[in-house]
Amino acid sequence: MVKIYNLYIFNNAGTLLHYAEWNRTKQSGITREHEAKLMYGMLFSIKSTNKYALHFYETPTGTKFVLNTDSTAGKMTEFLKNLNSQIFVEYAVKNPMVDLSQPIKNDLFSAKLDAFIKGSSLYVS
């Protein structure tokens, strides 16, 4: 059994041909057209790889992590949680010189993040 929330059908030009929803409790607060455009935009940019998995993790404060991997990946929630607690919190949040309302330009953060990903047992190039 699975809960079905909503369905988008797009044509090849990105026009939303049909939209339907069931059991959708949360509205996005933007117009349907805009939401469809955002959804299509995401698909468009993601489609350059044929097979992928998109992993999403959001902290209660609203920081969002989106990780794209190949489709062999299992559940990556734990991985993203660790990325948050060991890298983002430690090297971005706790560094008062990092402005969290702006893109992070911090070499230490980038280096640690890179090392975290490459040092992970899951990583293959």
Partner: protein, 178 residues
């Protein structure tokens, strides 16, 4: 500071150094800003800036998810106080509508060596704590207001912080192109 889990032990800070550092900061602020009300305001603002970042650390360490109600929130604040200040406040005096509670501390560690001189009775020495609560709650879409009901520095038996939920903030929607 005595912290809860052994995982945090590597980062222990001597509690007297912490207490004295806070004291030095308040003292310097009083020298720089001569109006006590402004000192209170500045302390609160500094706390706010700490709170908006500290909550990220709290959530990462405690693994907390979203709160279901304000009672849930009060327990998280209690846990956070234990983690970061090493004291366990009691939660009491809930308002009937459940939007307001008190955090009562028998002992406020940041005031360990402090006695307020008569000339500074208007000083809210621990005002930074209120800012921390306000800042961290704001990051999880809760607008709260906090004030001191009792303060051991003013001769009360306990330190009592009142926390009131004003409203829930809406998740921000990304700006559209149009």
């Amino acid at each position: 500071m005595s912290r809860q889990t052994s995982r945090l032990d590597a980062k222990k800070v001597n509690s007297e150094l912490f207490t004295l550092t806070y004291g030095a900061l308040v003292t310097q602020l009083i020298k720089d800003v001569d109006n006590v009300d402004d000192v209170n305001k500045q302390l609160e603002r500094m706390g706010y800036n700490i709170g908006v970042r500290l909550i990220e650390d709290f959530l990462a360490r405690s693994g907390s998810g979203k709160c279901y109600d304000f009672r849930d929130t009060s327990e998280k604040i209690q846990l956070a106080t234990r983690m970061y200040l090493g004291v366990s406040p009691t939660i009491s005096n809930w308002s009937p509508s459940g939007d307001e509670f008190s955090l009562v501390m028998d002992n406020n560690p940041i005031t360990d060596f402090v006695e307020l001189p008569d000339s500074h009775m208007g000083l809210k020495y621990s005002n930074m704590l209120l800012g921390v609560i306000r800042g961290s709650c704001e990051m999880v879409q809760l607008e709260v207001s906090c004030w001191f009901v009792q303060d051991q520095l003013k001769g009360d038996n306990t330190t009592e912080i009142r926390v009131k939920l004003l409203r829930k903030l809406e998740d921000s929607v990304p700006a559209g192109e149009d």
